[in-house]
């Protein structure tokens, strides 16, 4: 197999994802309602409760909306990745996965490309969200929109790989409600998405400790810092490291017979 084959395959998988996105654009638009509710309603109500002092990367006092916007970018990717991974092995995407796995190219390449393609669609949503966030005065520097891109790609790959790993190996979590309660909400709430971790430390040192071990915290911080053109090597390094480990585990451990891809009940 030559490099050109890989390239055509990569482009083909990306193209298909965008075609499906376009077909189902109303579903994707409605997926934006959730983060916007958090940004406009939740943040408005919470602003009074939680004053945010000056912490890096911010150089001045900020509104609560400004603080949670990067966390909500992470949340968009978190929901999409989990939903996407589940649909890959249990429902909507089964047909396309069967076709995907008939490719002669190596499976890890196919799976990572597929996760990236789904990630790119999520990232498109993140940018629409950031544009809408301008309406509530969340105004990162212009170059921040570009600088945040690598962090968004890493986050989507990390969470996509996590989703695939969970969907393949934990049968109890084969429906979205289960994943929401046991993965999405814990990851989201036990991170720095909604509150700075020092606040958490004041309230509960052991929860603070848990948050420190949550990779989503570092993904959110990588997004937050790069959106404001600051470099956070720790957040980036941990996000990248976790991404590599999860992608390796998810692709090496992928077994079609543990999914519904064969068309039969998983064994």
């Amino acid at each position: 197999m030559k490099a050109a084959h890989y390239w055509h395959c990569f482009v083909g998988i990306q193209t298909r994802e965008w075609l499906r996105f376009w077909q189902q654009r109303t579903r994707f638009a409605s997926a934006l309602v959730r983060p916007l509710l958090w940004l406009v309603v939740f943040a408005a109500g919470f602003r009074a409760v939680l004053g945010i002092s000056i912490i890096p990367p911010y150089q001045t006092y900020i509104t609560y909306e400004t603080y949670i916007a990067p966390g909500l970018c992470g949340m968009i990717i978190l929901f999409n990745s989990m939903q996407g991974a589940l649909s890959m092995v249990y429902d909507r995407e089964l047909g396309s996965m069967r076709v995907l796995l008939m490719s002669p190219l190596p499976r890890p390449f196919l799976l990572v490309t597929k996760l990236l393609a789904m990630g790119v669609v999520s990232i498109g949503q993140v940018y629409v969200f950031l544009l809408l966030a301008l309406l509530v005065d969340v105004e990162p520097p212009l170059w921040g929109y570009l600088a945040v891109l690598p962090a968004l790609v890493l986050t989507s790959l990390m969470l996509g790989a996590l989703g695939l790993l969970i969907a393949t190996w934990i049968k109890q979590l084969e429906n979205f409600a289960g994943v929401m309660n046991f993965v999405i909400f814990p990851m989201f709430f036990m991170s720095s998405a909604l509150y700075p971790l020092w606040k958490m430390n004041e309230a509960s040192p052991w929860l603070y400790w848990v948050c420190q071990f949550n990779p989503f915290t570092y993904a959110v911080e990588a997004i937050r810092f790069s959106l404001y053109l600051e470099w956070n090597p720790v957040a980036y390094g941990i996000t990248a490291g976790v991404t590599v480990v999860l992608a390796l585990l998810a692709t090496a451990g992928f077994r079609p017979q543990r999914t519904k891809i064969l068309g039969t009940k998983p064994a």
């Binding site: 890989y6 395959c9 482009v11 083909g12 089964l94 008939m102 064969l262 068309g263």
Partner: protein, 240 residues
């Protein structure tokens, strides 16, 4: 291309689904894999398509082991699954292009081959229609056209007529037989419907994970001392 299955065994947990299944397919022929529901046909297809990992035995394509040369094997196999594997909201052409890309073909080449196959299947005028607008028989034809895009030598079809009416079933079966004759394609057609099988076909009868018969339909009938394939199938499996 020769295809050989050697001593295949497969179990889900403690439950054996295939037991010591061995056969060789003849290049350029139509082979019917006949078995009642639950015989192990889909598991056998899972192994042939690498969706299931081999547990025991090996499959050789043109002498090459599926274990050792999976990529080479997948290049030579075209598959039509039992369940629909088309994107219903995408057009026929977009579906074909996705498959072609997965096999490393450029867009230009994909378009050329896709149009050629669609013309052959008399579906070229539907190329820009969403698959959802096609009837069941046409969708199946698109799936076969797609399976042939990368020019495989072996076409595997897992109960491709499920859900089709009698006329569409017959037409699809005829169509694949024509491909076999015209292109020298080796075909393995799994079914539980005896009327899709002819006495001149090579017939493999699978029942409870074991291969009970392997030979031309007429030879099997003779060996069993029965008049028709239906009688043979009934005598061997208690079904039909």
């Amino acid at each position: 291309m020769t295809i050989e299955a050697r001593n295949l065994g497969f179990r889900y947990g403690d439950k054996p689904v295939l037991r010591e299944v061995s056969f060789a397919l003849t290049s350029g022929r139509f082979h019917a894999l006949l078995g009642p529901n639950g015989a192990g046909k889909s598991t056998l297809f899972g192994l042939l398509t690498r969706l299931l990992a081999l547990q025991q035995g090996d499959i050789l394509l043109a002498g090459q082991s599926l274990k050792k040369q999976p990529a080479e094997a997948m290049r030579r196999i075209g598959v039509v699954f039992q369940q629909n594997a088309l994107d219903l909201d995408l057009t026929v052409r977009q579906n074909l292009q996705y498959h072609a890309a997965l096999h490393g073909l450029s867009r230009k080449e994909a378009r050329k081959r896709g149009d050629r196959e669609l013309a052959r299947f008399e579906l070229l005028d539907r190329a820009n229609d969403a698959v959802r607008q096609l009837n069941g028989g046409h969708r199946r034809r698109v799936e076969i056209a797609r399976a042939l895009l990368h020019e495989p030598s072996l076409l595997l079809l897992d109960e491709p007529t499920v859900g089709l009416d009698v006329a569409s079933r017959k037409a699809l079966n005829e169509h694949v037989r024509t491909l076999c004759e015209q292109d020298g394609l080796t075909v393995l057609w799994a079914t539980h419907l005896i009327e899709e099988v002819r006495e001149s076909d090579r017939v493999l009868i699978l029942h409870q994970g074991q291969l009970l018969a392997d030979g031309t339909g007429s030879a099997i009938c003779e060996a069993e001392g029965t008049q028709t394939l239906a009688d043979t199938f009934h005598a061997l499996t208690g079904a039909g």
